[in-house]
């Protein structure tokens, strides 16, 4: 870029295009302004019109989501959504992606992702009390995968551990479609009194605008624009646009902000996230229908002689913008000084609808708020893939003729079948003294101990199945919600809301737009059936490398409430003398299963549709089991089918000698019984004396109950069909390789 361009230089169409603004958008701006924007203003449009900030390709689809419900105190559109949990308390939560930065610089990319989502939650007035991470990595044939896994995990751990928010659950999966575009989706939940919720609004003419936190540097300038571009191999060198996180400052910001809120010193507040001061100032003005005047010379800077456009676009971390009454500014500064933080008054709220910014007594920005915050929506063509039928072909004969042992071995060697312990032990999962269960479990469970005498327990879960989403996006969306719901139900929780993080390829690709709209349809179908509102979310497009989109990955984060004081159900084989049953259909679909991918070395087959009515009945069944105080161990059947589910339950057994004898019911298709992945199916383990009661409850609820066999102390997995042993395997060997599988990333 020519050095002659200054903040107030008039822009040109060429310059606009260089900054990612289309000809139509530029024309729209010029017409509305009745002049050409200057360079500083153009930078604002560049950031705010980017896909990342504007949601211009995705916004219209969100109308499909159910977003209302009796618990919803804040739906989508704020920094985080909020749900009432009773007794005068509420939870704020959201999930966000930090995919592109995590590929460029895994450690800082993941760390700053954590920082951003934590700020989104505490700016609502909520104290963050739990996090989850959904991570999708490439496979081992890509040379950088190990270093990406290592960096991302360390980045998440170092940031969250330092701030002191426990990481209690999540999901980690591997597929070559993520080789050059890993996904890092971070979820955070906070607690807030339901009458002390803060929002990102610049209300009150004459109120002061205050800048808080770390100084502004040149890092991340044009970061939002970067997140809206595809990666090509040369772009891997874009390192300077990634920001550096400082979790210690974040912790101070968190405490100082909550203290200032408690003292009534804040009117509105927003994180300076993507597009920094630009998005926070314009969005706060927009929500309040007010104008702002900001003196850019008052912004604390880390480097000398920063231009207005740099101050406006910097994505330096751990900064907030807030609005307060003029008479409270001194007290506010006092709170921040106590925490060794610096607050600076940089402007005021004015009437009208314009944001004006001054630098060196010169007006460098003077724009109507709506022109910036209501960008032109993009009309993207959408069409299903032409080869959908081929994708849905599964060569059943080739599977049938193969010996069971070969298929079993192939599954046991799958990278995705691994113990997550090497990752999750690097996260503090217990800080806060609220973690009841989690990390290795079906869902994380925390107690909200912030409500005085009363305590409420919440269960949290993230889920997505990209294999299924690629084959059939609608079912992928449906299933992500259904999987979360069944996992929460297994912990005795009733789902109350979801957040989503929709990771897709380029919206300029019609197939990607089709995947996107179909996924939203699927998510909505499940949410409607289960009466779960969507309360916040995030879209990450342009997850492509060299023109090839990632598999559609609509990651769901779900929160459920446990409304009793009963002990949590187990999810393992807690004894060597348990009866086993399969709840739900005896067979599952092989289309999109891990087994099919493992056997055919590609995703294939049409996934079977999730039976949402059955899911509801199964959730009721689990509730009744619990109300009757029948103790059991239960685990859902997903990746790898029944066989992997059983093995995970054995591996988590407290007894090393635990073995399983599995009886194949007569008349079932063996592959579909063992490896099928239709949702919902669960494995239930219980004392034989409970069997009659459980069978009765299952029949009352209208869910199938199939006897599966027993646990024993043989430390062997034995599968019997019609009296004959058809498979015998040593559990300690299987467990050792499962334990080892993900260790290799951390060597």
């Amino acid at each position: 870029m020519s050095t002659k361009i200054t903040d107030t230089s008039p822009s040109t169409l060429e310059l606009a295009k260089l900054l990612g603004i289309s000809g139509v958008e530029y024309q729209h701006v010029c017409q509305s302004l009745e002049r050409v924007p200057n360079y500083a203003e153009l930078s604002i449009f560049s950031a705010m019109f980017s896909e990342h900030c504007s949601y211009k390709s995705s916004k219209k689809f969100f109308k499909r989501f159910p977003t209302t419900g009796k618990r919803v105190l804040q739906g989508p559109g704020e920094n985080a959504g909020i749900l009432d949990i009773g007794l005068g308390w509420a939870v704020a939560f959201k999930m966000e992606s930090h995919n592109h930065p995590s590929f460029i610089e895994p450690y800082q990319g993941a760390a700053t992702g954590m920082g951003g989502i934590l700020r989104d939650v505490f700016t609502m007035g909520a104290r963050p009390i739990a996090s989850m991470n959904a991570l999708c990595f490439g496979t081992l044939d890509f040379e950088r995968t190990s270093s990406i896994v290592k960096g991302v995990v360390k980045g998440i751990g170092d940031y969250g551990n330092c701030v002191g928010v426990p990481n209690i659950a999540g999901q980690t999966l591997f597929h070559s479609c993520y080789n050059r575009n890993p996904l890092v989706n971070a979820f955070t939940l906070g607690v807030v009194r339901s009458n002390e919720i803060y929002r990102g609004t610049a209300q009150g003419i004459g109120n002061a605008v205050v800048y808080l936190g770390a100084k502004t540097g040149r890092d991340g300038v044009h970061g939002a624009t970067m997140a809206s571009k595809e990666f090509s191999s040369e772009k891997e060198l874009e390192r300077p646009t990634v920001q550096v996180g400082d979790p210690f400052t974040e912790k101070l910001l968190l405490e100082a902000t909550l203290e200032a809120m408690q003292k009534g010193l804040i009117v509105g507040i927003q994180d300076m996230g993507a597009a920094g001061l630009t998005s926070s100032s314009f969005e706060m003005a927009y929500r309040a229908k007010s104008g702002l005047e900001i003196d850019l010379d008052k912004i604390p800077t880390r480097e000398p002689e920063m231009a207005a456009f740099e101050l406006l676009l910097s994505e330096s971390q751990e900064r907030m913008l807030l609005v307060t009454q003029p008479e409270k500014v001194e007290a506010l500064k006092g709170v921040f000084e106590k925490w060794d933080l610096h607050a600076e008054e940089i402007g005021k709220v004015v009437s009208g609808n314009r944001v004006k910014m001054l630098k060196g007594s010169q007006v460098v920005v003077d724009l109507p708020v709506e022109l910036v915050t209501e960008p032109l929506m993009a009309e993207r063509p959408s069409s299903p893939p032409v080869d959908l039928k081929q994708r849905w072909f599964l060569d059943r004969n080739r599977m049938l003729v193969a010996p069971l042992n070969a298929k079993f071995q192939s599954l046991m060697e799958e990278l995705n079948f691994g113990n997550p312990e090497p990752l999750i032990t690097q996260y503090d999962s217990m800080v806060g003294n609220r973690t009841v269960g989690g990390a290795q479990d079906d869902a994380g469970v925390i107690r909200v101990r912030d409500m005085g005498q009363d305590e409420v327990r919440l269960a949290l879960k993230t889920d997505c199945n990209p294999r299924v989403s690629w084959l059939w996006p609608r079912e992928g969306g449906r299933r992500a919600v259904a999987e979360c719901a069944i996992n929460l139900a297994l912990k005795g929780a009733e789902p109350i809301g979801i957040t989503d993080c929709l990771n897709f390829g380029s919206p300029e690709n019609p197939e990607v737009m089709w995947q996107f709209s179909e996924s939203i349809e699927g998510i909505s179908e499940s949410c409607e059936a289960l009466k779960i509102p969507v309360i916040s979310g995030n879209v990450s497009f342009y997850n492509d490398t060299d023109g090839k989109p990632i598999y559609p990955t609509p990651m769901i984060g779900m929160v459920g409430i446990i409304d009793d004081k009963l002990p949590l159900p187990k999810s393992n084989f807690y004894s060597t003398q348990l009866d086993l049953a399969l709840i739900g259909p005896a067979e599952g679909g092989l289309g999109g299963s891990l087994m099919a991918s493992s056997w055919f070395k590609r995703e294939c087959g049409q996934p079977e549709e999730t039976d949402l009515a059955l899911l509801e009945r199964m959730m009721k069944f689990l509730q009744r089991l619990r109300k009757k105080r029948i103790s059991y161990g239960a685990h859902d059947i997903s990746d790898g089918g029944l066989i992997c589910s059983l093995l995970e339950m054995v591996f988590q057994s407290p007894h090393d000698c635990t073995g399983v004898e599995l009886l194949v019911p007569s008349g079932v298709d063996l592959d579909r019984f063992l490896f099928g992945e239709t949702i919902p199916r669960i494995v239930l383990a219980f004392d034989s004396v409970e069997r009659g009661d459980i069978e009765n409850l299952a029949s009352q609820a209208g869910v199938a109950f199939t006897q599966l066999g027993q646990t024993n102390d043989s430390s062997q997995l034995v599968i019997r069909q019609g009296g004959a042993q058809i498979l015998v395997s040593k559990i300690p060997d299987l467990k050792a390789s499962w334990n080892q599988r993900w260790n290799k990333f951390f060597k």
Binding site: G157, N161, V163, K251, M430, V436, R449
Partner: protein, 222 residues
């Protein structure tokens, strides 16, 4: 009985300790601020909680050990007051000279969070008097720099004075001689890497044994 819990910038288990002490009962709990220099005479116990004081950007605990309040704590300890340092609090105690040795990065260079077993070496201390000698406690650890190191003469001294209260049953971090927690010669200052405040009512209750020992020693109502 009054217990004071200090908040340093970056402490993140201060609130957990307060919560646990309330659950345990018998203590009136007051939070203390690192910049203050209060008179500690009325306190029976001062707790330095876990966390990342000053972000661990210098050596862990090095900055916090030089906080204004630490002069008061050191004085309090020298006069026989009970001081407990958990995790980052243990690091601060070592940095402030109240306990010997130092804590450095875990041998595997990673942060480690999990439940581990510690063996109780010595029951002859206010912190362990209610615990069967050589029994095991299940306690959580969560640290990146918990490898305790001390030279051989220093170690001999710890052994001879019965200062090693807890050792790891399976050493998670490479600590010298599996050391998990030590006290000073007069046994009124105790530092440990595991978190007893996280093991009072969730998952494990073994942390209670430490609190109950101290309460019994102090004659605290239960």
């Amino acid at each position: 009985m009054k217990a004071g819990v200090i908040t340093f910038p970056g402490s993140n288990c201060d609130d957990d300790v307060v919560d646990s002490l309330k659950r345990i009962g018998g203590f009136e709990v007051e939070k203390l601020w690192h910049k203050d220099t209060p008179n500690l005479d009325s306190f029976s116990l001062i707790v330095l909680p876990g966390g990342f004081s000053y972000g661990d950007y210098l050596r862990c605990g090095a900055m916090a050990a030089r906080s204004p309040i630490m002069e008061k704590v050191i004085d309090f300890a020298h006069r026989g007051g009970f001081v407990l340092g958990i995790c980052n609090g243990f690091q601060i105690l070592c940095e402030s000279g109240l306990l010997p040795g130092a804590l450095v990065r875990n041998l595997n260079l990673n942060f480690i969070c999990k439940d581990i077993l510690v063996s109780v070496n010595d029951s002859d201390s206010p912190w362990t008097k209610m615990i069967e000698p050589h029994s095991h406690l299940r306690l959580p650890i969560a640290h990146g720099e918990g490898r305790y190191i001390i030279d051989e003469p220093g170690y001999e001294e710890l052994v001879n004075n019965g200062q090693i209260l807890f050792t790891y049953s399976e050493n998670p971090n490479g600590s010298t001689h599996d050391i998990a927690g030590i006290c000073n010669k007069t046994k009124n200052v105790f530092g440990l890497m595991p978190h007893p405040e996280r093991a009072t009512d969730l998952r494990s209750q073994d942390g209670m044994k430490i609190w109950n020992s101290l309460k019994s020693y102090l004659g605290c109502p239960s």
